[in-house]
């Protein structure tokens, strides 16, 4: 099962994103992004269920909240950057 991590440059932007997504009924967990998907170390992610990923991307674009990357992550597999 996949999870999607929307990566943000700052915790403040990630917090704005989480609030915007929850406002649309999307379950959004604010987390420290795993090191494997933080090339510069210490970034913040909003974790989304796979089924919500496209809608989440659309909501964030509508709210004018930009993210730096999206990764699809599954246990035991390398993270894969995706473009939504």
């Amino acid at each position: 099962m996949y999870e999607y991590y929307f990566i943000f440059r700052s915790v403040t932007r990630a917090q704005s994103a989480a609030i915007a997504l929850r406002h649309h009924g999307i379950e959004a967990a604010l987390v420290n992004a795993p090191g494997t998907i933080s090339p510069n170390g210490c970034s913040y992610a909003v974790k989304i269920k796979s089924a919500d990923s496209y809608f989440a991307a659309s909501c964030l674009r509508q709210a004018n909240i930009s993210y730096t990357h999206v990764y699809r992550v599954s246990r035991g597999l390398p993270a894969e950057e995706v473009y939504l």
Partner: protein, 368 residues
Amino acid sequence: MIYLDNAATTMPKPPAVLQAVQDAMTYMGSLGRSGHKAAELASETAFNCRKLAGELFDAQPEQVVFTFNATHGLNIAIKTLVSRGDKVVVSGFEHNAVLRPLHRIGANVVIAGRKLFDQRNTVSDFSVAIDSDTKAVICTHVSNVFGYILPIEEIAEICRQRSVPLVIDAAQSAGILPLSLQALGAAFIAMPGHKGLFGPQGTGLLLCGSAPRPLLEGGTGSLSKSLEMPEFLPDLLEAGTQNIHGIAGLLEGLRYVKNTTVSAIKQHEKALIKFLESSLEKKVVHTYYSPDEQSGVISMLPTGDNCEAFAQKLSDGGFAVRSGFHCAPVAHESAGTYETGTVRVSVSAVTKAQEIEEFADYVNKVKK
């Protein structure tokens, strides 16, 4: 004690502010660092504080940077914009928080608008002074000595038309007068958390309309593998552990201001100052007062006494005021009180009319 030194710091704070600080010390970790519940709570509190400040001052949360006080914010703004020899236009009522950094940098400071309580003269002077050589305009919104409300909307309009960045010192106006980062188009607006916003000392906000340069470099909890400070706000300006205990208190202070409303606070303070001015006997003290262009700060000169001795008499009577030069020598130069200083009385949203009445009665009696 009847506390009338709110221009220095507001006191007492709303009970929710005290509770928030205690709760933060009990339950909150460091914001923007770890992923555990205590850190999450800290991050959420900080975000809510930025968001509410953004609503009050028309800014996005990321544009709201936590500082230690207004002086810290002003130093960031000034050192971003100004280099040695640059022409900077300031008002005749600036605080040393503006003047000392400019002096240290070696800026060419031009003072515009020296007439107390004369907004038309202030606008006209600024219009003449601001030209193509002007690197920045720095202006206090309200004089910390005299309570003079400067016409920052008109000054901001001049700056926008001439593409000159504007820095506003909102130390005496945040939470008391309307302030909009967007409407003013200011490059930076600096404010303390512990005056009109009723937060703890050690807090402040810098609203960033322009890209700043950091004063400090250090850990931000972001992009840790890079030796460069992050380029984005607010992280660019928030190196080191932030004062989350203070920020939690500041959030409650902002809620107090929002619930009370800025317009009610403004009306309350103006009414108290008007009442005070009308209650003081003219032969006892000379007051610097304007019915239209003054906020909740008023300065006075006692007859037959120096200001320090008079302030001591007031303190002996249980009244807390401030005497001297109020870290604003230029303001005293402008108003003609450079030799004597003044005694300053400053109210807040929680000052009662009865306290002003008692103060006026005591002043009138003690001077006889």
